[in-house]
């Protein structure tokens, strides 16, 4: 099952990278197509060890619906983050109060934690530094509002956690 999933994923990637079908003439370049099949098979046989352990999650369509819902949320916060950084860069006195705080997350799986850390890095004023074993994240905050763990968690983590829980768990 893992091999078949890896084959499908790598073949889709190959198809998007090379795009053998030509829209104007309507012809298919079969040479590239079959080379892609061959190399996807090779990848599926050789590199199955480093692939995910739960391949059935790739076919759960509900996750993709939530992922599409997640894109506008992420985009809105990225826009806010960039305007924030631009304001701090242009301002002649640079109004920054940096520091590293600790927050707690309740997400379980590894990929969900990775997605949470990446989202935190892209959103206003925060940068994830480390994740520990017991579900704590250390976050560099450019404008520290509170040094307590509870309040920092409330203002950094909670706005992503609910929707990420629906995608990954």
């Amino acid at each position: 099952m893992r091999r078949i999933t890896l084959f499908i994923v790598s073949f889709i990637t190959w198809y998007l990278l090379t795009w053998p079908y030509n829209f104007q003439t309507g012809k298919m370049d079969w040479q590239i197509f079959f080379v892609g099949l061959l190399f996807s098979l090779l990848a599926a046989v050789l590199f199955v060890e480093v692939f995910t352990r739960t391949p059935l999650k790739f076919f759960a369509l509900k996750r993709y619906f939530w992922a599409v819902c997640y894109i506008p949320v992420l985009f809105y916060y990225m826009l806010l983050a960039n305007l924030d950084v631009v304001y701090r860069v242009i301002h002649p006195k640079m109004p920054i109060r940096p520091g590293i705080v600790r927050v707690k997350t309740t997400l379980k799986s590894e990929s969900a934690k990775a997605a949470l850390a990446n989202s935190i890095t892209l959103t206003p004023g925060t940068l994830s530094v480390d994740i520990t074993e017991d579900n704590h994240l250390y976050i560099h905050w450019i404008n520290v509002k509170s040094t307590e763990e509870e309040e920092a968690t409330k203002s950094i983590v909670l706005r992503f956690e609910n929707i990420l829980k629906k995608i990954f768990d």
Partner: protein, 117 residues
């Protein structure tokens, strides 16, 4: 029409890239530089690649631009995370006017400590 929208997207992207690099020069310590650089330059490059998609439509160029966009969106925060962790472990301290450093209080650095930056 598509070309004009594409050019506007390129303009927004290039402006964010410029402010990100300005932050890279102006901010006082490495963590703040990493924030400015990663956020603004990632967002600017994403806008440039979206502009390529709008400018050229769904040809092979546009589809490659989408692949490149997804790849940058996944890898750029990961690289920033790796650099910040490596810098903190190698003993680079925060800026001298920082408020708090919980990571230093609770996790020991691997190497011997350097002088305060």
């Amino acid at each position: 029409m598509n070309e004009v929208i594409g050019i506007v997207f390129f303009g927004i992207g290039v402006a964010f890239n410029f402010f990100g690099c300005l932050g890279l020069v102006r901010f006082p310590d490495i963590y703040n530089r990493l924030q400015a650089g990663t956020k603004c330059v990632t967002f600017g490059t994403i806008f440039i690649l979206l502009g390529v998609l709008i400018y050229s439509g769904f040809t092979s160029l546009g589809i490659k631009a989408v692949l490149c966009l997804v790849f940058i969106l996944l890898t750029s925060p990961t690289a920033a995370h790796a650099i910040s962790k490596g810098a903190h472990r190698s003993g680079v301290r925060l800026w001298k006017e920082s408020i708090i450093d919980r990571y230093r209080e609770e996790v020991k650095p691997v190497e011997g400590e350097k002088a305060d930056a």
